[in-house]
Amino acid sequence: MTKLIRSEEEIMLADAARGYLDEAAPVAKLRALRDAGEAHDPALWAEMAQMGWTGVLVPEEAGGSDMGHAAACVLAEEMGKTLAPTPFLSTAVIAATALRQVASARAKAALAKIAEGTVTYALAIDEGSKFDPEAIDLVAEKDGNGFRLSGQKRFVVDGGFADRLLVLARTEGGVTLFDIPADATGVTRSAKPMIDSRDAAEITFDKVEATGEDVLGTVDDAMAVLKPALEAGQAALAAELTGLAAGAFGRTVGYLKERKQFGTLIGTFQALQHRAADLWCECEVTSSAILHAGRMLDTDPENAALAVSVAKARAMDTASLAVREGVQMHGGIGMTDEFDMGFYMRRARVGAEWLGDYGYHAGVVAGLRGF
């Protein structure tokens, strides 16, 4: 039976990741990128490829480390703790999972490049202000043997610098997922810095050419490929948010132990103690959901949807509470840019929206639980 505790390998992976990230990608790294007006650090990404992180979900025959979703969640959680700015979710989790659903040589080659760290991906689904893969208008019209994509995508995370785009388009009999270069003719990207200092693009597609080869999976049946990819991404994002909550919480507890007010350590104030304890409980409960989602994706992916939505819903709620308490318990200093809590708060907000907000996942849970 699968245990809801981390395996020794996972513990080692987490320890290694923590050591690396504290050194190479602390919050100061994200801050430096922001101050330089950048959203991505290719050197950091190259190092992650070296360590096998970019290939965490790439099969070994394609050069990956193929450690599985639970391991990907371990990495995402550690990245969340320091807000490490990388296209890990877009590329190493979502795109890799989508590509490995497909048996083609081209997909295998793409996976190899992900493992090598020589390609980055972004996922272009949203068209409205909320995640809803069923409500898309971007159309891929038949054109000879190929297609012409026309329409607009918004909130394409990492879409400003990604090499390739996974684009969800409406086709005659359903929806189809395309894998196209981000610099294809007719693609216009307008990248905007988001509040979390990452970037997201608005992308216009003006009769962009795509061949049958560019279709990931089967025409009209995007969901066979996209569903596992989305669930993998949602679980890893949930893990990241859980790490974020832990990072914010750790700083807050540390502050409670050192800060004096009215002559006493504020950590002795019972009202703050109880709120901190309550928050710790929320973090614990969310951690269980994250572990379970990773396990389900690895062992029973067909039935992982419930576990994933529970994890995403819990994680964004917990992260939101952790950053709100983080700012409040720090007082004025928590409001300053100089202090890092604002970075956590802003990332938590973006993470709450990306790949489905609380209400979206609550709806999934309700549906799967029979109401």
Binding site: K257, H274, D278, G370
Partner: protein, 383 residues
Amino acid sequence: MNDDLAQFRAEIRAWLEQNCPQEMRDGAVGEDSTCWGGKNWNFTSDAQKTWLERCAAKGYTVPTWPVEYGGAGMNRDQEKIWLEELATINGRLPLQSFGIWMLGPALLHFGTHEQKLHYLPPIARGEIRWCQGYSEPGAGSDLASVQTKGEDKGDHWLVNGQKIWTSYADKADWIFALIRTDREAKKHLGISFLLIDMTSPGVSTKPIRLISGKSPFCETFFDNVEVPKHQIVGTENRGWDVAKYLLTHEREMISGSGLLAGGSRSLGAILAESGNLDEPVLRSDVMRHEIDGLAFGLTLERYKDQAEAGTGTGDASAMLKYYGTELNKRRQELIMAGAGSDALTWDDERAPHWLRSKANSIEGGTSEVMLSIISRRILGLPG
């Protein structure tokens, strides 16, 4: 090992098929549906009696206890299979009691071999029903301020005092109680963990009526009760260690009770039948509860896995107690809201269960005490 488990499952399944009476396959949980055992127990049906006897004979009433003490010697994976298979046929538990949940684990940990042999098998067979005597009037969460005294009279203690919140003391055969045996020692010291026969001269009980209309608790009085010296668990004046160990068990038990009571069906699905779940406020609250409940269930699982792997900490039970009971209170509020005016009479168990749930976050350590424990012992906050 997985093969072994598969075979074990097959055996359990076959045994259940043959031995679990049809009447016991209704999944009922509640005051009398599951047998509590003891000399005062009135079986609600012949099937309930048969079911208890058959399970007791196999050690299935206390599956993880050693065979020599009346158990079936199962490991946790096996126990899980037993529970899963029982759930599959919707079978009732054969027996529940404070002896199983609390005294048993305490004796297994602190008792002598003789004590185990003497006290455990009657618990496993449902012959002796135990109750717990911790709290005292006015002490509330402050268990260490025990006043009920036991004077050393050579071969026995002479016990005088009063306990409160003794669950079902009026139906129990024996009580395990915290008694102050050294009045000079400081609070946590000087307390012994004694086992007392409720039929001893000088023991009397008085039920306390609750806001739910039920009286599951009693006041229990000790008036010059003689307790033989061998009826002590652990060391004299070190009963606090036993009590602390037990509190952990109690907390885990209470934390899970709300979830178990609901069975595997989602609250949302149950409430949706009322047609009242289209309204967004209630629907939203139920969704949140569903998500939190699922995640908490996974947490119970995770903590058990941690305990088995030896990586858990005892203090974490404070979390389970706090979160589980608060969750169950929310659940009961939602059941009431979902039922609307249907649940406003005493005609069914919804209102009593709802009111009863309010005690969850008081008994066995209040939510506030749990939060303080977490704050100090886990988070390391000062003071």
